[in-house]
Symmetry: C2
Subunit: 714 residues, 2 copies
């Protein structure tokens, strides 16, 4: 840290002192930060930046799991390469492996459908609905009833909202349920792949470089949104036309210099910034070590199976990436926790909070009991975590078991009126479920599915006595143990056939209950444990809804100033500067990497850069996209922004609101920022728009796309 | 590289542009660099800096294998911890392991003798003797005779010089034998250890951090020179008194800041800056891979034997370090050669040189034949390298075989008049040989000696047919092969006994030849091959003496400007600045490390920092030795100086000629600087004098030493 300041001292003559910028702000909170934004150099009125329906925020959209942004009046969008992996997989075959080789559409006709499940949502209205959701719930309402009322109110709001055509709506909860907003978005259903680089560019360095700096990933992709000729949203059709968005971003080809203001608007998924210290300590001491051990076991299986054939490798690449990424995240958390004393700092902060509460009798009366009850709930969670997590992974690691449990559950939910069905299993969700059942055709791999199921069934059998899943134990005993059960399940699994899998969705609960398919038997056994567990979960959620606002009241009271809600997938804004950091004494991570640095890493996989890229690299310093100060085309850069998963693909904007890059990762040294933001260490990692422009122009010879991105012809 | 420049751009507003400073200059060459020295900020007259007999150069001394400097009028000297390992070992026992634990003398009486072989030499006169050495050798003199004449002239000059009492003289050769200087030095024979830190401070990070940055080694030690009461040099005696040097350095406790001028005067040992490209390419492709393989085999043996007992570990620590250090050097060279294209750049430079020669008929006539002959000699070297290197390591890896061959060789040389004896085996060398024979008592370990000898004998048996060592083959056949030979050699080796070992030195050649000791038999077999080999080597040396001046003429002609001679153990000056570097794209190595960074690395060996150091560490930022900009006590720092082995322990001086640190290493990324200096990558690594002062004052409570170093009492 200190050497870094020393090195930056001369810089500070030119720019204001370095300062980290914690906060995933709601757009409406930005006026509170007008001074800081001015200090950073924002050139737009704060009121404009705070308006989600005006440019530039109006150009930011969601892909569901990632962010993206419009960059041309013809519906062109930029996002990360790692956000379009699924889109590429549905367009891949053994003969034409687009997931590996990427895709460049030579013209509009060459733009490939991203598949039936692909969706873009464009926020059109954000309404505070706190009063409608919790305003009329009496203080003494029992927890389970409280949860049900909130759930009902949210579903009713969503249903009314989605009565309009092409709408996708949801009610987001903020500050643990103290506030609610109804977010109404236009949904576009025909998404096409315009350009995706080869995997060896888009995720250059693969798992080795994942989360790491220096980084040289060209983690970008170009999509286009299409609508029906009449402008309405429509599923893919060759007759569809490019969507003309109300707002799109300008691209600034001068990029972002060290020290320059950058900001990001996007849809960060989940953070735990207001967790209890006891939750963090338990996560460190119990959960992460367990999750890492299990991930290692699963990865060992997947690696073995993957080595068996190129087909297995192609099908298992995505689950391996996902589990390895989670494992590296968990390990990174543990490393960060140790080096940065995260738990100790959260404990100290919580100690101050508890002292603040206890220090005033009125506060103690109002908040003290809530703190005590939260402690009790957390203790109970920590006593029953293992069964929940084992069952959760049981139906996640085995694709076929996921199909069976989803079908059984959906059939059960269908018995209820739509508004009473659980979230995720309503009529509005059925298309997505069907699309996922269909997509399994391209990723299902029975040998690994069997071994992963075996791994998790053995885990279930090793659960402690007080956490046994009795119905699963009984089913396994009936089968004669894990081995015979697996033999039966995998003898001729009907669910491996796409038609039979989809047919499940047309059967009612009675038909499924009558089925002799062993997969459905196993699913019923699990559901027998899960159904009452869900009721307990709902009761806990009701208690949490009651207590969280009090907890946040204590948080805000003990730590005055503007407080932002935890990430929840809703639109947020974070701002800061392009800046390096010191990962350890004596080392400074520079804020930019270059094409020369990318080429210097080239070699075996995962650094198997394509030949055409390496051949173009020596000319990069003389290209029009080269940075004069760096003397080369920049590849990736660091900034002090506060981001997390879900922000991937978000446009990185400059002080004029122009696009200078795409955020795609955070740094290893600050993984624990999901729990506690670290001023000195937390950095976001972005791909520089100049690397995209250079790649399109000099490597892919796709000048027409460079022009559609607003750049002059070469 | 480029990101570094970009980052430094603001710095350049304050200081002149960064520029690397190649050159190990003779002091007399410094006036050629007056402009650059002024630009760097030198505050002393260049004439003063260029005078080896004035301060500050007059305070720089040699320990033989390392440099050191006087820092008080009472003969106090500073050098590196890694330079006093041998001194500590002779003062170590199982009960009091000073090599591991270090030593702090509570008072003068507690200062420990560094042992009978320890010497300090203080340069008193440097005389150009080129004319005496080569001035009267006729052009047509045959090569062997040329070599003999040069050798004779050098020995005669040394003998005359050493006729004065307390003198140690040598004739150094520059530019491959184009110039010679007689260096006359005063020799002091009573050296004492005042302070050495524990090994876990002095070589903190051990082999893991060796050559690496960021570095946190406290690689310093404090010695004192003693003389007889009458001021003459004398071997250790309790009656001796501290030597009062004519010059000593002032210590500047404000240290060296980033960008500040620093310079080093010392005794760099060996570089190959003017090698032929074919020599470098061969070294990369043949020699280093072979040497690495052999080092790995030796290290595996030493590691196994070392694990057997604490005594073995103690005795083998030093050879393990030495071989591991050499291996890492060789591997680093290969890495550097690859990443920096050293061979390709030397080939390109030599291509220009050859074009320059060929481009002019007169030059071609004068220099062309010399180039062709050099090519022939290099080709011959490369055809016979293996036998020479195997025999070389045979007598280096086995201590007992080294004893036997040294005794046999010395007895042979003693037959001749002293001036005709080979260098290293003259009367003046006998004390040193005796001291080494004696010191073996503390390091000899028979189990590893046997296995290393076996390794090398097997290497000898695997030599290609055209490089067999016939006399060794015959001896081995006589013994019945390697196994029986080893059994006989190690049955009851007389040479393992110190008295019997020393007694060898009192026997004449005839007595040794009559001995039935199998070690002497083996030594005689080797000598039978080595003696004619030495004659061929001398002939080659004579040719080289004839050709090297022509080669240097071509080097200098093709590349005008001041040229410095290769390092040869004589006094040199190098200057530059405190500055970091970029080891790879996206990363900058900061020029200072801190006590906090040292503490953050603490853990298992080799990072087993002593408890008292770790306890003092958190208070370092508030100590009087803390750097205000860093906010902590600096540990090590980087500079752009041009140094190599032998410079270790040299005082690092500031623009006022005050001591701010001690150089102890170079960086891994620029190991190949011994062949080719790389402007962007070559850095020297120094321990900051403030770390020494802080350690003495805050960790060791040795305030009296801090005061003797010219600092105010706390």
């Amino acid at each position: 840290m200190l050497p870094a300041l020393a090195l930056l001292a001369p810089l500070s003559l030119l720019t204001p002192a370095a300062r980290a910028d914690e906060g995933m702000w709601l757009p409406e909170q930005l006026p509170d930060h007008a001074d800081r934004l001015a200090e950073l150099g924002l050139q737009l009125p704060v009121s404009q930046v705070a308006d989600p329906m005006a440019a530039p925020l109006g150009a930011i959209v969601s892909l569901g799991f990632c962010s993206a942004s419009f960059v041309s009046p013809q519906g062109l969008m930029l996002t990360n390469h790692h956000c379009v992996g699924g889109y590429l997989q549905v367009n891949s075959s053994a003969a034409n492996n687009r997931a590996r080789d990427g895709h460049l559409a030579a013209d509009r006709a060459g733009e490939l459908s991203a598949g039936p499940g692909a969706r873009v949502t464009i926020v059109e209205q954000i309404t505070d609905v706190t009063d409608q959701v919790v305003g009329r719930i009496g203080k003494g309402t029992p927890d389970r009833k409280r949860q049900a009322k909130v759930e009902q109110a949210r579903k009713a709001l969503v249903a009314a909202c989605e009565a309009k055509p092409d709408r996708r709506c949801h009610v987001a909860s903020y500050f643990g349920g103290a506030q609610y907003r109804l977010i109404s978005a236009r949904e576009i259903k025909d998404i096409r792949i315009v350009y995706a680089p080869p995997e060896s560019v888009g995720s250059y360095g693969g798992e080795v470089d994942n989360w790491m700096w220096p980084r040289h990933s060209g983690d970008f992709a170009v999509l286009r949104a299409y609508v029906a000729p009449d402008g309405s949203s429509a599923e893919y059709s060759p007759d569809n036309v490019p969507y003309q968005p109300p707002h799109w971003l300008q691209v600034d080809p001068t990029g972002a210099q060290e020290g320059e203001m950058v900001w990001v608007a996007g849809f960060p998924g989940h953070t735990n910034r207001y967790a209890l210290a006891s939750q963090v300590a338990w996560t460190r001491d119990v959960y992460y070590p367990w999750a890492i051990g299990l991930a290692d076991a699963a990865l060992a299986i997947l690696a073995e199976e993957s080595a068996a054939s190129p087909e297995a490798a192609a099908r298992l690449a995505s689950p391996i990436d996902m589990i390895a990424n989670g494992r590296k995240n968990n390990q990174g958390m543990l490393d960060n926790f140790r080096t940065s004393g995260v738990v100790e700092r959260m404990q100290a902060r919580e100690g101050q909070l508890r002292a603040w509460v206890a220090g005033d009798p009125a506060r103690q009366r109002q908040l003290g009991p809530a703190l005590a009850e939260l402690d009790t709930i957390v203790a109970r969670d920590q006593a029953t975590w293992q069964a929940q997590n084992v069952v959760g992974r049981l139906t996640r690691y085995s694709d076929l078991l996921w199909v069976a449990t989803t079908a059984v559950r959906l059939a059960e939910e269908r018995k209820k009126p739509d508004l009473q069905r659980d979230e995720g299993y309503q009529a509005r969700d059925e298309d997505r479920i069907r699309a996922r059942f269909e997509r399994l055709e391209r990723s299902l791999w029975l040998p690994s599915d069997r071994r992963l199921l075996q791994l998790m069934l053995e885990q279930a059998q090793a659960l402690p006595a007080d956490q046994r899943v009795a119905s699963l134990d009984a089913w396994l005993a009936e089968q004669g143990g894990v081995g015979p059960a697996l033999d039966r399940l995998f003898a001729a699994p009907a669910l491996a056939d796409t038609a039979q899998r989809l047919a499940l969705l047309d059967q009612d609960a009675a038909a499924l209950a009558a089925s002799a398919d062993p997969w459905l038997g196993l699913a019923r056994a699990i559901e027998q444990w899960a159904a009452p567990q869900r009721l307990r979960d709902k009761e806990r959620a009701g208690a949490w809804l009651r207590l969280a606002p009090l907890w946040m009241q204590a948080v805000q009271g003990a730590r005055p100033g503007s407080v932002y809600p935890d990430a929840n997938g809703s639109l947020r804004v974070t701002f800061g500067r392009v800046e390096g950091y010191s990962p350890r004494d004596g080392v400074w991570h520079l804020p930019h990497t270059t094409v020369a640095g990318m080429a210097a890493k080239a070699g075996d996989s995962p650094f198997d850069a394509p030949e055409r890229l390496l051949q173009a690299a020596p000319r990069a310093p003389r290209s029009r996209w080269a940075d004069p100060a760096l003397g080369d085309v920049p590849v990736d850069f660091l900034a002090t922004l506060d981001t997390t998963g879900g922000n991937s693909g978000s446009a990185t904007l400059n002080a004029q609101g122009q696009l200078v890059g795409l955020i795609f990762d955070g740094n290893y040294e600050a993984m624990s920022a999901d729990w506690l933001f670290d001023d000195a260490l937390t950095r976001s990692i972005h791909v520089d728009v100049r690397y995209l422009l250079w790649t399109l122009e000099e490597v892919e010879q796709a000048g027409w796309l460079v022009e559609e991105l607003g750049q002059a012809p070469r």
